[in-house]
């Protein structure tokens, strides 16, 4: 499967998972958006050696994945894009960190702990974002953005980009396949046709945008874009979920985790 087909499959898959009816799916989109941002901010606030506290934050993911009935494997597959840079930066820690973690008679380079912490932060953040996007459609996220008073022009533009993404990806796929059939044994587009190929797609896109605007006017567009689909109202259930999760995350963040490995397990940093 080439890159474009892969992206199309991913979009379609997310579209179908976002149409589910689990408890997580039924939560208000703004509650989910705010919780996701809060959770990721909490994750990143942990120090580079605070591994126990960080591991405890996985409880949010357990709750979320359990309530949404999503596949963890699908979430982990999304890590492939961010892992190379995070690993490159993190793998330097064991070599450049001079601190030692002494645990009983064992000594461990603290760089390994900071490396694992960095990887866990990356993994947890990606899974939390997946939890949001797999249970909330883009229309609902746009609705939540408007409720959060994000400018109309920004949200409309974001929604239109998403709407036309599938269409233009399909067109790019057709162009790419037609080129591949006429230019066998080539791994990419030859530099002599760089401009022609991408340029054709660009001109078609501009014509499509003009046609789109004309059709929007014919349907009575006056500057306000209406987000389709049934949108949930904020109710007590959303408040309960939001407050309890925020309380739980704050509690886990503020617990004195360092006492666990210094007092109870007898470890220390040198």
């Amino acid at each position: 499967m080439n890159k474009i087909s892969g992206a199309l499959t991913e979009i379609n898959k997310l579209n179908s998972t976002a149409q589910g009816s689990s408890v997580m799916h039924r939560l208000h989109p703004l509650a989910k958006l705010l919780l996701t941002i809060f959770y990721i901010a909490m994750l990143m606030s942990f120090g580079k050696y605070q591994i126990f506290g960080l591991v405890s934050m996985s409880i949010y993911l357990f709750i979320g994945f359990h309530l949404s009935r999503l596949s963890l494997k699908e979430g982990l597959w999304r890590l492939r894009l961010i892992l190379p840079l995070v690993s490159m930066v993190g793998l330097a820690n064991p070599f450049f960190d001079s601190h030692q973690f002494v645990f009983g008679s064992q000594t461990l380079n603290a760089g390994w702990i900071s490396f694992i912490t960095l990887m866990l932060k990356g993994i947890f953040a990606v899974l939390a974002s997946y939890l949001l996007i797999a249970t909330t459609s883009i229309e609902q996220i746009c609705y939540a953005m408007r409720l959060a008073h994000l400018p109309k022009i920004l949200v409309t533009q974001f929604l239109l980009t998403y709407r036309y993404l599938t269409l233009l990806l399909e067109q790019a796929d057709t162009i790419s396949q037609a080129y591949a059939l006429r230019a066998p044994k080539q791994t990419g587009i030859h530099f002599k046709v760089w401009g022609t190929l991408a340029g054709q797609l660009l001109l078609r896109s501009i014509d499509r945008a003009n046609a789109l605007y004309d059709s929007m006017l014919l349907r009575g567009y006056q500057g306000e874009y209406y987000y389709g689909g049934p949108l949930a109202a904020w109710n007590k259930k959303d408040w309960r979920y939001l407050v309890s999760i925020v309380f739980l995350l704050l509690l886990l963040r503020l617990l004195p985790w360092s006492l666990l490995y210094t007092k109870i397990l007898g470890g220390k940093f040198l």
Partner: protein, 329 residues
């Protein structure tokens, strides 16, 4: 160049969100002032186009690898820098949410690193001043390549600064910066050529699209203003920021220190001695300061004098190779 959440701490993330939000608010104001409702669907569809075009693999001749299209500069050339910046925000948000390419917390940083430099530095300070006097193939190619290289270098350096400021990696700043800048220098050049190829096609097939951008550019930033802005930035960097320059060895010195035990290798032979003598005579400001002094004013003076000298050499080369053409009546 998309940053993951793991590479940034909440403080740096908040600062970058604030900076990107300020740029977005200014862009929204400028787009509203234009009062062109046709631009909204155009921005949306162009955003989808950039996303789709980035999926195409453009073969780099003689290397066996491939490059991709750089969105910010291309959009700035076609839509103007403000509309392009808002479009890039949409693209980066979709990449973050749908494809996990870049983190949600790091979105502000990613917008700054990829959209701000591409649209404002590449589009407003490089593309517009270069094309507003005359639209030609040579100008399109030079603006695309120079713009792409500079904006990618700035973006890559911002990634290094943000990661270093977040304090999550033990990777030495010099090595990280050296690696990132080197990789993105090549990427920038290739992406610049791809943008140039696309814009040249548009220039030949539908010149009115670029002529519209040229007309819009005429009223905004003149070449002189852009020069004054870049000059002020150079004076600020050379005269003020040079005081905060790191005293640690650079990437090469660091490597030498690790391999040979000293940042400066022993010189031997007559040729080395002669070269050292010539250098001693010509270096008016050794170690970026006055002779035998460690004054801050010396550092400031060295920075400014160095920048002025580089400018002088560049202008002299342009005259020598007849890059400046006199207008004929």
């Amino acid at each position: 160049m998309h940053m993951a959440d793991a590479l940034i701490n909440p403080t740096v993330a908040a600062v970058m969100y604030a900076a990107s939000a300020a740029a977005a608010a200014y862009s929204i104001k400028k787009v509203r002032e234009e009062n062109n409702p046709r631009k909204i669907p155009l921005m949306g569809v162009m955003g989808a186009f950039v996303f789709a075009a980035q999926m195409l693999n453009f073969t780099i001749p003689g290397t066996g690898s491939s490059g991709h299209l750089c969105g910010g500069l291309l959009l700035a050339a076609l839509l103007g820098p403000y509309a392009a910046f808002l479009t890039m925000i949409g693209i980066l948000t979709i990449q973050c949410l749908l494809f996990a390419d870049g983190g949600l917390l790091a979105l502000g940083a990613n917008i700054w690193n990829m959209a701000f430099y591409g649209c404002f530095v590449g589009g407003l300070l490089i593309w517009q001043p270069l094309i507003q006097r005359r639209l030609s193939k040579a100008r399109i190619i030079s603006a695309s390549v120079v713009g792409s290289v500079i904006t990618l270098q700035m973006g890559a350096f911002s990634v290094v600064l943000e990661t270093a400021a977040s304090g999550i990696s033990e990777l030495p700043f010099n090595i990280f910066a050296f690696t990132m800048q080197g990789i993105h220098l090549a990427i920038g050049a290739v992406e610049g050529l791809i943008i140039a190829a696309v814009l040249l096609f548009v220039y030949q097939a539908r010149p009115e699209l670029l002529a519209g951008a040229k007309a819009a550019a005429n009223g905004s930033l003149t070449f002189e203003k852009a020069l004054a802005f870049l000059g002020s930035a150079a004076v600020l960097a050379a005269g003020v920021l040079s005081l905060a320059a790191s005293e640690n060895p650079d990437g090469l010195e660091w490597s030498l220190e690790k391999v040979a035990g000293s940042a400066e290798l022993e010189k031997s032979g007559a040729l080395h001695a002669l070269a050292a003598q010539i250098q001693e005579l010509t270096s008016l400001l050794p170690d970026y300061n006055f002779q035998g002094s460690e004054s801050a004013w010396g550092t400031v003076f060295s920075g400014l004098a160095g920048s002025a000298l580089v400018l002088l050499v560049c202008v002299a080369c342009c005259y020598a190779f007849h890059f400046f053409k006199h207008k004929t009546a």
